[in-house]
Symmetry: C2
Subunit: 376 residues, 2 copies
């Protein structure tokens, strides 16, 4: 499967220009209302659970039509109105300067004392982050398109060559360290150049990833190997999304058999309910859960050494996850979670080391892939 | 400064062979005592603060001569004796198989029920980690030489080409993501091939690193740019150590002006008191603290927006750090910490964004380097 996609510099500029147009549109609406002697206001889609809809046919979370207004001449809304305009203006500056900034950086950039008062523009970074999420939904643009990034995490190796900011990177020759996945994996930063890989194996922990890389799993099985350092960052999710949707690669996830592992899979598959607006360009409904499975205790003939007792919180989380709309009507997932609860214990991917250091790379994953034995 | 070092495959094998010899020596001593009708025991250097000495002349922490015995026929020591032998045997297997394993993996590999009892070999990973530290000091070998690794973190770009596990990696062409620094940066994994860089700039956070990389600081100032994701892992520290000692590159640290930033610098410079045995091959006594400095509030004309109040714990930590032996007799460090305490607030590197997004890369760091204005 050697596909090639490219994003020309022109289309990058088109995209930034489109984002800029949205921002100036927002400002223009405010100004228009002011000149028409109407109250300046911004209409913002509501980011609440009640305004989140599960689109079963498309298999993704979507936001409903609920909106809220932010008026300048409303004591309870004036500060947020001002904060929204402030950040929108900063984003415009960033795009024009062709620079990116971290969430923390945006907080500092917008931070000052409101003229004539002792009040700060933002009380803390949480307040700033919330306004940026408002802007994402209002402008219909991902944070990354607004030139804003978060902490990066995650690594990739495998049978693919990418171009990152003009540098060609051969992920087949990245040693033991690997290519560090950036925080912004949009097409204007990352292009896929040459890919022979037939699938992506995504693992939870970088220690497990190192085992797969050391055993050169990606070479033997012609794939791409990624890790997200626990719950994958948006950068990692966006990269997986693009590998799946642009190159047609199936995404297999190797995670722990515990509610946290199930939750990580759930986030890769559908996103989080509180941030439904991201799903459209981050969710991978077809992602597959390869293991660890609750049945593996018997099937792999593991000893009781590997059992980590479920605590009350684990049981509560497992029951919550079982009711997520994308698991609720899937019998195999209901059985999986029930079996884990019946076992009464969790198991980590590393538990397979009790069989052999390389059991996971030489036996477990190849057998499961061959038998098409996964959950989705 | 284009130096070249190389580690031939033969010397790698020599090193592994030396480690193996140490392990079989350990086992041999135990056997010899047993055959001579003496109690089998292992003598282990004591890893306590009281057995840690500050070698002022060499500028590093060292372990004293204190040792403790672990006897097989001593109820209070038998379990640790067995655990030590178990892990020593696993390490021998790893070296022979030319594989590496994570700390978590070592726990699982050694985990089983002691024959004839219901007791597990290890209660938890902490117990396993402690035994591995014992083996490091007993064998006089770094954990990495025992083929054991921890979670990796950290990224590098800059004017250097390295060879990682046989793959040549040009850190000048690593895009926005960078080269992910592996957990084991020993010469058998990483070789330095071609380096024009004149120094290393190490920053605390990967979001700050991204700013420097985006502004191509390493290209403009001919350096290497690293980050450690907070407190740097041993992999990152070992890489910095080798860049400093093998290539002669000065290491400049850009960290927050708070006790945590000072502590990170202290760890890079000297290591942690509780793990003095690592210092010999991890500490960089000549590392330099470039900023953020307590004086920067005035000197960079920052607004009060950037002040983050010191809390009681910060004040306690600051006073503790001031008394570390490598800070205690350094007047500039005493003044620095006193000035921070007098300010009453911390400042993050990101606070410079209030001046301009690229103030830190275009003004702050270049000016400080030019004026040789740092602490060491």
């Amino acid at each position: 499967m050697a596909k090639k996609t490219s994003t020309s510099s022109a289309s990058v500029k088109d995209r930034d220009r489109a984002t800029l147009t949205k921002i100036t549109g927002l400002a223009g609406d405010v100004a228009k209302r002011a000149f028409a002697d109407k109250e300046p206001l911004i209409t913002i889609p509501t980011r609440t659970k009640s305004n989140t809809l599960w689109d079963k046919r498309r298999g993704i979370l979507q936001m409903g039509d609920g909106t809220a207004e932010r008026q300048l001449f409303n004591l309870g809304q004036a500060k947020q109105f001002m904060q929204t305009c402030l950040h929108a203006s900063s984003i415009k500056d960033l795009i024009n300067a062709e620079k990116t900034l971290s969430l923390r950086g945006m907080f500092y950039k917008g931070l000052h004392t409101v003229a004539g008062t002792k009040e700060k523009t933002f009380a803390d970074q949480d307040e700033s982050d919330g306004i940026l999420e408002d802007l994402e939904v209002t402008l219909g643009a991902l944070r990354e398109e607004l030139h804003i990034f978060a902490k990066k995490a995650g690594t990739m190796v495998g049978n693919i060559t990418i171009v990152d900011s003009g540098d060609e990177i051969d992920c087949r020759r990245m040693g033991s360290g690997g290519y560090a996945i950036p925080s912004i994996c949009e097409p204007n930063i990352i292009r896929f150049k040459k890919c022979e890989a037939k699938f992506v194996l995504h693992v939870e922990k970088n220690t497990v990833w190192s085992r797969f890389n050391e055993d050169r799993f990606w070479e033997k099985h012609n794939c791409i190997l990624t890790e997200g350092g626990g719950q994958p960052s948006r950068g990692v999710r966006r990269l997986l999304y693009r590998l799946h949707h642009e190159l047609g690669l199936p995404i297999y996830c190797l995670l722990d058999c515990d509610p946290w592992g199930h939750y990580i899979y759930s986030v890769i598959k559908q996103g989080s309910i509180s941030l439904a607006f991201e799903s459209e360009r981050l969710a991978i409904p077809d992602a597959r859960f390869l293991g660890i499975r609750a049945k593996d205790y018997q099937e792999c003939e593991l000893s009781d050494d590997v059992q980590i007792a479920l605590n009350d919180n684990d049981i509560k989380r497992a029951n919550e996850i079982a009711q997520y709309p994308w698991f609720a009507d899937k019998k195999p997932w209901q059985l999986e979670i029930r079996k884990m609860l019946a076992n009464g214990f969790k198991m980590e991917v590393e538990s397979l080391i009790t069989k052999d250091i390389s059991y996971v790379t030489e036996t477990y994953v190849p057998e499961r892939l061959k038998a098409k034995d996964w959950l989705d």
